[in-house]
């Protein structure tokens, strides 16, 4: 009988051994430390604020020597142009009725298609990385105003290092709140009729437009795309755009729209730019591209 007891005991002991193994760990482990010298900063510019660096040109962006070209084109809605209902109908603003939607509806600007020309408004077409070069910056700040609880510029391209003056032409306060990826966010209250404005400076280019919101009025949205070069455009009401002084070469443009399914209408829109005027482009998109 006794010989049967032994294996049981041995099993028990093994169980305990196994059970107790793996003690330690947790908060009482003291980590090892290794030093890593600050080597990566050796080559980067020193200074208070890191300066945006020129991106090296990509594979498809080799400028051909000689001449600059102008690229024109139009974004066209292929199909029946949608007419989105207004976000807020006149006089029905959930708040600040005396100002917001007091005289007119607040339109849904997320997709504006011209019923006549089928042109799509507010489409961004831009180069993510521009050819190397020193491009003159605009001397005047950009203006970004709000009126009737609408951002007057729904979509705009701005330049890195050039202030965007945020203004307020409403008799009520607005609150401008940006959601950038690479830059620091801004969340600034603007008092009523503020024409002095608050400057917003982007220090780095972004690869997609930055959303701007007003926390006080949930429907207010706009998009700003800071670039460190002039090669980008926002389409006008008839869907047309124009990019000037582009060194001739082959480029991959990004085409972005806020309603685009998956973010971009086109991630790499390849164009070869010849010196001088280029053949106007007709870029067509369908309702499905906008998730309609």
């Amino acid at each position: 009988m006794r010989q049967h007891i032994w294996p049981i005991c041995v099993l028990l002991v093994c169980g305990m051994w196994w059970g107790l193994s793996g003690c330690g760990g947790g908060a009482s482990t003291v980590p090892k430390v290794v030093v890593r010298p600050a080597q990566e900063e050796a080559g980067s510019p020193k200074g208070n604020e890191p300066q945006a660096k020129d991106k090296t040109s990509g594979t498809e962006q080799e400028p051909v020597a000689g001449g600059v070209g102008t690229l024109r084109g139009r974004f066209i809605f292929d199909g029946e142009p949608p007419q989105l209902p207004p976000l807020v109908t006149k006089g029905n603003a959930p708040k600040d009725k005396e100002v917001c939607a007091a005289e007119m509806d607040i339109p849904d600007e997320s997709l504006i298609v011209d019923p006549q020309t089928h042109g799509i408004k507010n489409v961004f077409i831009y180069l993510d990385r521009a050819p190397k070069g020193d491009y003159p910056k605009p001397s005047q700040p950009f203006r970004f105003d709000q009126k009737n609880c609408i951002f007057t510029t729904h979509a705009m391209i701005v330049r890195v290092g050039v202030p965007v003056l945020i203004l307020n032409s409403d008799p009520i306060a607005h609150n401008t709140h940006t959601f950038p990826r690479r830059n620091e966010a801004l969340n600034q209250l603007l008092k009523q009729n503020d024409q002095k404005g608050v400057p917003l400076v982007y220090t780095r280019p972004e690869s997609v437009p930055v959303e701007v919101k007003c926390d006080l009025h949930a429907w207010m949205r706009a998009f700003q795309l800071p670039l460190d070069h002039p090669f980008g455009a926002v389409s006008a009401a008839d869907g047309s755009f124009e990019i000037r002084d582009l060194p001739s070469g082959k480029y991959a443009f990004k085409i972005w729209h806020e309603r685009a399914v998956g973010g971009f209408l086109n991630r790499r829109f390849s164009v070869t730019v010849k010196p001088g005027e280029n053949e106007p482009l007709e870029i067509k998109y369908q309702a499905s591209d906008f998730g309609l």
């Binding site: 009988m1 007891i5 005991c9 028990l12 196994w18 330690g24 760990g25 947790g26 908060a27």
Partner: protein, 608 residues
């Protein structure tokens, strides 16, 4: 061995109307036989004991080795944190430890397992009064186990302690486990309550109505008295807890339809909206302890009874002061209803109540003391054989002395101000619930095992189990008195952030190692149990040469228990009676003709 076979035959052929073979399921699973139900309870609760023990070891691990990887589970539970448990896991551990131990181990192992197995056998009945109800009382344990088990899975696990004081338990935002886990916990509690209630009604009816001829109330063994008083306690106290549980469930209902029994106004919990209500959290404490204090005696009285029986049989001596024993049990039960307030001395209840409850609580020590004196009196002049059963019974007595004496500190309100919610309390109730009850239960397992399975348990393993359990137990819980005096609060996930406790770390390590010894010693019990079930030496009807009726039945008893209807002629403790000279026991069923030649051997019952 022949007797055993005969008994089996007797069991089957003795009742012609039951001659058809029961299916396996009806016989061993959904059985209405009190013995099968008792054994089902026993095995379930022993497994739950291991679960509860494992949870306790988790608690101990965290205190002694705070935030270090817990053995076994740490690796896969909290691997990303470096095996470091989270504080709400710790609260879950001790909450569930107490829950499992109280509701799924101690109460069911006493009332469920031994109550079921012993009551009909000891009073000479062929089964419980309501066999189906009896079966249900076991099977209602399972929803409870499932609910408690599920509560582990939700959120952080119930984390309001086993006492579940609202507001912590009433509002889901108050603690990680106070959401669905707490609801599940309350449901589990309800099911346990239903199970207990079914049992207690059954026991009362059985004991009152189904005693064998000649079995007067004062010829009942103390085990039966213990069970009887327990059943009464349960029947009267449990509805209060169940009602309170439902009130708490109603309070927990979402949105605007919840009640506010326990939720006061304007509490801000977890940054939620301020509560709206006019409830009183103290109400829960009163209701809860109105049940849970008597529950302490529910967890003790049957063990007291069983130990009395075992002790008398082991020292071959009548119990010292049988009637005082019965009266003191009754007194404990009666007083048990009016002492609940001593759990609440610091709770902010009316101070006048403090004085009343102090007096009643201190007086409850009196019947306990009487019992202790009577046990020592029983051993006094007896013939002591140190087998596993005796050892466990003596352990019961000495542990109960410690637990009882430490209780006086808490009963005294001013001292309790300091002692309350420190480890002194932990030491105290473990001495009573584990030290006393569980050692009693260990003894009872060894003592009645031959009746359950017809085989003896292994003595060597039994003694090792006792030795390791006893040393481990005292090593774990005795120092806790000192911790309590040092002001060591209960339920701290990491006490070591408090500098005034830092020097107690070595003692806590010692406690934890002792607890591990004690915990793993229980494997010896399980091993012994499993091994002896199949390989233990077979025994006859009365291996202990004891007097009570269950030893009159075959081992194990067949369906219907007795092959011969027992008739009772005397009390249960006629050991070493001068009436019989050649042996030191005299069974309750033996008829001794006056002044005539007395039989030398116990008559073998004949198959009808």
């Amino acid at each position: 061995m022949a007797a055993q076979a005969g008994a089996h035959a007797a069991g089957q052929h003795g009742h012609g109307e039951h001659a058809h073979e029961l299916s396996f399921v009806r016989k061993y699973i959904f059985s209405t036989d009190h013995k099968v139900i008792g054994i089902q309870f026993l095995i379930t609760t022993l497994l739950m004991l291991m679960v509860g023990g494992a949870l306790a070891l988790g608690v101990r691990w965290q205190i002694a080795y705070s935030w270090q990887t817990m053995p076994i589970v740490g690796k896969w539970l909290f691997g990303e944190q470096g095996g470091q448990i989270s504080p709400e896991f710790y609260t879950m551990l001790f909450t569930m430890h107490a829950t499992v131990m109280i509701f799924l181990v101690i109460i069911p192992i006493l009332a469920g397992a031994f109550g079921n197995f012993l009551i009909p056998l000891m009073i000479g009945a062929d089964d419980m009064a309501f066999p189906t109800l009896n079966m249900l009382s076991y099977w209602f344990m399972w929803p409870a186990i499932i609910c408690f088990g599920l509560s582990f899975l939700f959120d952080g696990g119930p984390a309001a302690g086993w006492t579940s004081y609202p507001v912590l338990s009433a509002i889901a935002e108050a603690a990680p486990g106070s959401g669905m886990a707490q609801t599940m916990w309350l449901l589990g509690l309800t099911f346990v309550g239903v199970s207990s209630m079914m049992g207690s009604v059954n026991y009362m009816t059985t004991i009152i109505n189904m005693r064998a001829p000649g079995m007067t109330l004062f010829r009942m063994p103390l085990t039966i008295w213990g069970m009887f008083i327990t059943a009464i306690l349960q029947a009267f106290a449990l509805p209060v807890l169940t009602a309170a549980g439902f009130m708490l469930l109603f309070d927990r209902l979402p949105f605007s339809i919840h009640s506010c029994f326990f939720i006061p106004n304007d509490l801000i919990i977890n940054n939620a909206e301020p509560t709206v209500g006019g409830g009183q959290p103290l109400l829960w404490q009163h209701l809860f302890w109105f049940y849970s204090h008597p529950a302490v005696y529910i967890m003790l009285l049957p063990a007291m009874g069983m130990v009395s029986d075992m002790l008398a049989a082991m020292v071959r001596k009548p119990i010292f002061g049988y009637r005082p024993m019965v009266y003191s049990m009754a007194a404990i039960a009666g007083l048990g209803f009016i002492v609940w307030g001593h759990h609440m001395f610091t709770s902010g209840m009316n101070p006048a109540l403090g004085m009343t409850f102090m007096t009643s609580t201190i007086m409850i020590a009196l019947p306990s003391a009487v019992k202790v004196f009577n046990w020592i009196g029983t051993i006094w002049g007896g013939k002591v054989r140190f087998n596993t059963v005796t050892l466990n019974c003596i352990a019961f007595v000495t542990m109960f002395i410690v637990g009882g004496l430490s209780g006086i500190f808490m009963a005294a309100v001013p001292v309790d101000i300091y002692i309350h919610d420190t480890y002194f309390i932990v030491a105290h109730f473990h001495y009573v619930l584990f030290g006393a009850t569980l050692f009693g239960v260990f003894g009872a397992i060894h003592y009645w095992f031959p009746k359950m399975f017809g085989r003896m348990m292994n003595e060597t393993l039994g003694k090792w189990h006792f030795l390791l359990s006893f040393i481990g137990f005292n090593g774990a819980f005795f120092p806790m008195h000192l911790l309590g005096i040092a002001g060591f609060p209960r339920r701290y996930a990491e006490p070591w952030i408090h500098p005034y406790l830092e020097h107690l770390l070595p003692m806590n390590r010692f406690i934890t190692i002792s607890a591990i010894v004690m915990g793993f010693a229980q494997f010896l019990l399980l091993a012994n149990f499993a091994y002896s079930m199949f390989r233990g030496p077979k025994v006859g009807r009365n291996p202990w040469k004891a007097n009570t009726l269950e030893w009159f039945a075959p081992s194990p008893p067949g369906h219907g228990n007795f092959d011969v209807q027992p008739v009772v002629f005397r009390g249960p403790y006629e050991y070493s009676s001068p009436l019989v000279k050649d042996r030191d026991y005299l069974m309750q069923t033996e008829y001794l003709p006056r002044r005539e030649e007395r039989p030398t051997e116990q008559p073998q019952p004949q198959p009808a």
